[in-house]
């Protein structure tokens, strides 16, 4: 195996292991986008809240680190529902001329607020939740910390559970129906406005899960969600807005693009390759790879 290839593989493997956790986050964005037709610019901050929740639960309260991920999801789900009820209801009260732009501005402002409100609460020092496991595993091309590997597997599991739930459960079918056609879903008796908090809560809980999973590896601090959010956005565009399949494929593609970028360009720009990819994909296909407005 040539040096270049083994380098590429090691970048790729380590990138994909983290990438699918961002994919989980992108899946959350997708659900919010599908049901509410908005992009949540504060998604990264829910990731951050998830990380802090996992920290409090695993370190301060001494709850099992794996259980803490569920705790983080639950806490952030509730916060998400509160945020949706408190701030986003004007979106579908039919009182705004430009609900899409309202949502962008609102979630943008929310992200500034959340990022700064945690400073007085948790202090400026970074935190880490309890590791999921000790030690590293040799994957042949690269060594990977066990915590990361477990986090990655858990995120795949969560994605699978979510996809199955969307496919099989009454709530899942209702959410997909709303995403496909809001009016038609309403006429099926689905209370579409009641589903918004559910979708927002589930979507933000996915971000929280990602935050909790990465907290032991990447630490938690007020601005820790920004990179995660930008990756989730890139995955969302890559995969095509609102396609759940796309979120997963997008995460893998981003991993590949980043590895290629690091290898042939420079590692310094690694976090920017996602943006370049957004631009390229949109120039070629303005609706994303799996583009459609529905999600299923």
């Amino acid at each position: 195996m040539s040096a270049g290839l083994s380098m590429f593989l090691s970048y790729l493997v380590s990138g994909v292991i983290i990438g699918n956790i961002y994919g989980l986050m992108a899946l959350g964005l997708t659900i919010i986008l599908g049901v509410m037709k908005i992009v949540n610019f504060a998604h990264g901050e829910f990731y951050m809240l998830g990380g802090y929740a996992a920290y409090v639960s695993s370190i301060k309260l001494g709850i099992d680190p794996r259980l803490s991920i569920l705790v983080a999801m639950g806490v952030v789900f509730i916060i998400g529902v509160i945020v949706e009820r408190g701030l986003l209801t004007p979106l579908y009260a039919g009182k705004l001329d430009r609900p899409g732009d309202y949502a962008l501005l609102m979630t943008f402002a929310l992200s500034v607020f959340l990022m700064n409100v945690v400073i007085p609460i948790f202090g400026p020092y970074q935190k880490s939740s309890a590791p999921l496991a000790e030690g590293s595993v040799n994957l042949g091309v690269v060594m990977v910390g066990k915590t990361r590997l477990i986090a990655s597997l858990v995120s795949i599991l969560l994605m699978a559970i979510l996809l199955v739930a969307l496919k099989k459960t009454r709530l899942g079918i209702a959410l997909r129906a709303i995403a496909a056609d809001r009016d038609a879903a309403a006429v099926c008796g689905i209370d579409v406005n009641r589903m918004n908090p559910a979708a927002f809560g589930i979507g933000t809980a996915m971000a929280a899960a990602a935050g909790a999973l990465l907290a032991p590896s990447f630490l938690v601090y007020p601005a820790c969600g920004t990179i995660a959010a930008s990756k989730a956005n890139a995955i969302l565009v890559l995969g095509g807005m609102g396609s759940t399949k796309g979120a997963i494929v997008g995460a893998l593609l981003l991993g590949v693009f980043e590895a290629l970028g690091v290898l042939f360009l420079t590692p310094g720009y690694r976090d920017v390759y996602g943006f370049l990819v957004i631009v390229l994909v949109l120039l070629i296909k303005p609706t994303g790879l799996f583009g459609s407005q529905e999600f299923s």
Binding site: G94, R170, I173, A174, R176, A177, A180, D181, D183, A184, A185, A186, V187, C188, G189, I190, D191, V192, N193, R194, S292, E294, F295, S296
Partner: protein, 234 residues
């Protein structure tokens, strides 16, 4: 069964309904006729609560339902088949039906009703795990009707069910409507194809610029000179 009195509605500053009054009796097929933009679809949207009623009242089985949430209205027994069908394209046929059965909480009842509908519409049974978006226009129309029926509505609102369909399929759709009605479902039918609608209807109204200008039995309407020129091309 359904009584609209002086219903008003608007899109932004644009008035769409200027006091619509209708009376649909239990067990009948009631046809609502009118040109494009006369306010037929708007009337239906007001009835199911997809649009805000700015004036007047809507009564269903003696209870006021205007401006209630759509899900409450649907729960009280009204179903709607949209113009242009509006099936969920990326959901399978079965999932479309399951979405339609959202209000039916027991899994067994849902299964039973799905079976009944598959018997009634065998074409859908054949395609039950296909994506709804891949069905033909006629099949989508059948699916849209089936999806509305699975919740067993007592009043079914149908918006232009014949639009964009081949004549043969249109026949089939009307056969289904009559069949339904004979089994006891009241139907409020909005149609541009006035001749076909009047063939099956018991009563009908004509809507013009957001107001009812004429109401009567099909026979009476067919006699009307204005109806003849405007809607029947005579």
């Amino acid at each position: 069964m359904l009584v609209l009195s002086d219903v008003e509605a608007s899109y932004g500053d644009l008035r769409a309904l200027n006091g619509v009054s209708l009376r649909v009796e239990k067990g009948e097929i009631f046809a609502l006729l009118g040109a494009n933009g006369a306010g037929k679809s708007t009337t239906l949207r007001c009835i199911v609560g997809l649009m805000k009623v700015r004036g007047g009242t809507i009564e269903f089985e003696g209870r006021r339902i205007e401006n209630q949430t759509t899900s409450t209205i649907v729960k009280s027994g009204i179903g709607l088949v949209f113009e242009g069908r509006h099936v969920f394209p990326e959901l399978t046929v079965l999932e479309n039906l399951l979405a339609g059965a959202y209000l039916v909480k027991e899994a067994r009842a849902v299964e039973q009703r799905t079976q009944e509908l598959f018997e009634q519409f065998p074409r859908l049974a054949e395609r039950k795990s296909q994506q709804a978006g891949s069905l033909s226009g006629g099949e989508q129309q059948m699916l849209a009707i089936a999806r509305a029926l699975i919740a067993k509505p007592t009043l079914l609102l149908m918006d232009e069910p014949s639009m964009g369909l081949a004549p043969k399929v249109v026949d089939e759709v009307f056969r289904v409507v009559v069949d339904l009605n004979q089994k006891g479902t009241t139907v409020l039918l909005v149609e541009q194809n006035a001749r076909r609608a009047l063939e099956v209807a018991h009563h009908a109204s004509v809507l013009e610029s957001g107001q009812v200008v004429l109401t009567g039995t099909p026979a009476e309407l067919l006699q009307n000179r204005a109806v003849q020129t405007a809607y029947l091309g005579m």
